[in-house]
């Protein structure tokens, strides 16, 4: 990983997109920002526009209507950038893989760097996952 990626891990600006989720993962994400878990002390901040983001955080089981939008958001995210697949639905569409309204799994639409499984993943799992991503970036040449 280049110098730019390593710098990003100091303070990750994250943009959140949901492609059809039950909102559990989204609530747990907001929970990570509240006083008990407080991700902001690690420098992780949620941003309002994908153009300011270092990482794209995707929840939800890739609803058909959302697939083109996810592609567009990934293209708009300034590179280098990371993609985090959050939850069982983000990793593989979870229970909804047999639905008529679900598209391909997320990693067949955009390249994914980190999977955080769980339904929903606990905030501790999220913190652990981000730590793994940071380690992966820092140790990869």
């Amino acid at each position: 990983m280049g110098f730019r990626e390593k710098i990003l891990t100091r303070s990750l600006y994250v943009f959140h997109v949901s492609s059809g989720s039950c909102n559990n993962c989204d609530i747990e994400l907001l929970d990570c920002l509240t006083p008990r878990y407080d991700l902001e002390r690690f420098g992780i901040v949620l941003v309002g526009s994908v153009k300011h983001a270092d990482a794209l955080l995707c929840t939800g089981s890739t609803n058909r209507m959302c697939v083109p939008r996810i592609k567009l958001l990934y293209e708009q995210m300034p590179k280098p950038g990371f993609v985090i697949a959050w939850g069982a639905c983000g990793s593989s569409r979870g229970l909804f893989k047999d639905s008529y309204n679900t598209g391909a799994p997320l990693d067949e639409i955009i390249p994914v760097d980190l999977y955080i499984p769980g339904c929903p993943p606990k905030p501790e799992a999220v913190i652990g996952g981000i730590k793994k991503l940071v380690e992966k970036i820092n140790t990869t040449r």
Partner: protein
Amino acid sequence: MTIDEILQKLQERFGSNILKVYKKNDKRAYVDIYPKDIVEFTKYIFKDLGLRFNIASAVDDFDALEILYHFADDASGYVISLRALIKEREDPHIDTITTVTKSAWWIEREIHELFGIHFDGNKDLRPLLLPDDWPQGVYPLRKNFVVPKRDSRKS
């Protein structure tokens, strides 16, 4: 008003227009009616007797399509369901009840796009849930629609 009282009132009011009454217990009853009478029944149950409209649920019975209209009496604690059987599967029609109550606004749109049932008199039957590029004439909740299996080796 108990469930027996309302069933009796419906019998007195609509008599031969009721095909069948099945009282399951003190909390559940199913009344079979002709599709053409649904507006009259809804007017009586919703407006005159003051029951609450729960929802309408459509079922694909292979030889017919049926719509169940569920009404709840909160004062006495029971649910009455009107069953309207529509025999014409190719071009199913039934009158809209949105003239009686606004609460049927969304469910008629949903049943129209998922089952293909047309609600006569409802000018707003645009798709509610399915994507814009969903093929016309394909109704996902009908029994002849099988969800295609995706081969995950191909993208």
